[in-house]
């Protein structure tokens, strides 16, 4: 079981009506691997994360997490569509950080970080608070633990969101354009935190990003999506230094020109 990748997309397709967003995707992500997904808007890259978080149902194929099917389950030796209960058990291994933070506005930074550990993991309040305090400290926000999201800057909110996701002890972290909604001067502090958890936690990380410099420096592998397919993938040095595909080259030229 442990030779299975942490995440496996097996012939996964996603359609909205006549529009095919992801076309027969096959992608393995290894344990502890850090993968960046880049590509033009509408290429299906965010959908990859959303399907993995079960925010979108898949139309075809099977999604595997940590050696087990997530969208399906084994019944009499056959894969059948998963029940909600099964899906909940598997998705406990996954945490996600969103472009728009999505903090709970009626809870403090601390409240945001202890809600799920208490209600889902059944932690004692004191234990959850202790752990949340450590995480808020790690993202540099110990002083802000009693602040509400509306009292925090975008960068601070996103760091709380990262701490909140980590509080559930996921094995896989998904980052969906987490710096896109931030003012330019706040991008750095969030990337700094992501770098830190990449170093200090044994996490598999999958991120959709427009920060090419960060993708290049941080990831083990970069996947370039185009029109619902992986157009090209490889080590960052390869993709950024010597892209083979014409589409990749065009995209990178356009992005680097703008950036």
């Amino acid at each position: 079981m442990n030779d299975m990748p942490m995440v496996r997309f097996e012939n996964v397709s996603k359609r909205y009506g006549a529009l095919t967003v992801l076309d027969n995707l096959n992608l393995d992500i290894g344990r502890g691997e850090k993968v960046s997904i880049i590509g033009p808007s509408g290429s299906g890259k965010t959908t990859v994360l959303r399907m993995l978080m079960t925010l979108e149902a898949i139309n075809d194929g099977v999604l595997w997490v940590d050696g087990e099917p997530m969208t399906h389950m084994m019944q009499n030796g056959k894969l059948v569509p998963a029940t909600t209960k099964h899906m909940r058990r598997i998705r406990a291994k996954i945490g996600m950080v969103f472009q728009s933070f999505n903090l709970f506005p009626h809870m403090t930074a601390m409240g945001n970080c202890i809600e799920a550990p208490i209600t889902v993991l059944g932690m004692k309040r004191s234990e959850a608070e202790e752990r949340a305090a450590e995480l808020l400290d790690m993202v540099g926000l110990s002083a802000k633990k009693d602040h509400y999201p509306s009292q925090l800057s975008g960068g601070q909110q996103q760091r709380v969101a990262i701490a909140r996701a980590l509080a559930m002890r996921p094995k896989i972290m998904l980052f969906d354009e987490v710096t896109s909604a931030l003012d330019p001067e706040l991008v750095g502090e969030v990337l700094q935190v992501i770098r830190k958890i990449g170093r200090e936690h044994d996490l598999t990380m999958l991120m959709v990003t427009h920060q090419m410099g960060f993708a290049k420096e941080f990831s083990d592998r970069v996947c370039f999506f185009y029109q619902g397919k992986i157009c090209e993938q490889g080590a960052p040095a390869e993709i950024f230094g010597n892209p083979k595909n014409e589409r990749t080259r065009q995209f990178l030229n356009a992005v680097l020109e703008a950036g």
Binding site: R88, F98, S100, N102, F104, H106, E115, A116, V120
Partner: protein, 215 residues
Amino acid sequence: MWDWTFTFEILPVLARAAIMTVEATALGFVIAATLGLVLASIRLAFPAAGVVVTIFVELIRSTPLLIQIFFLYFVLPKAGIVLDAFTAGVAAIGIHYAAYCSEVYRAGFENVPRGQWEASIALNLSPWNTFKDIILPQALPPVVPALGNYLIALFKETPLLSAIAVLELMQTAKNIGSETFRYTEPVTLVGVFFLVMSLVSAGIIRMLESWLQRR
């Protein structure tokens, strides 16, 4: 024209009736606010059952309250369900306003951004905890003013209960009038009472609103 002695004479009787009116309002609104939330929540949690709720809500909203009061008091006994006038009246008012309140709650639920649901899934919260801890606390504060308006509307409709002889204010004023042939004082007092209570309620709701906003 205005007889103060008579006014003070009827005041204690009217005061008792006023208490009855306030009781009917309070009980009716508790039913309206609770049942309305239940209806809106059913629609939220089970979209399939939502059709039934929608039909019920439209049925209630599209028929006069007076008919519903009569129905509960005079028609239900034919089906073996006998309610006393106060119970029937309060139930009718409560159910009627529950239909309106359910629409208010629905607007409140729809107002909560999708991202809040998605964050709850990402944190693996159960549907119940998502509803109770995340959605409801965000959906309720913005709809307090609208619910308050219905509280005042409901309050002002309690005189309809006089149609089934509940001894609320209007019925009592009518009784005093028919016994003494003097309507000026009792009816005026009832009007003043409704005015004062409506203004007081509106003030309380505004205070509640600003308290919720400050949080």
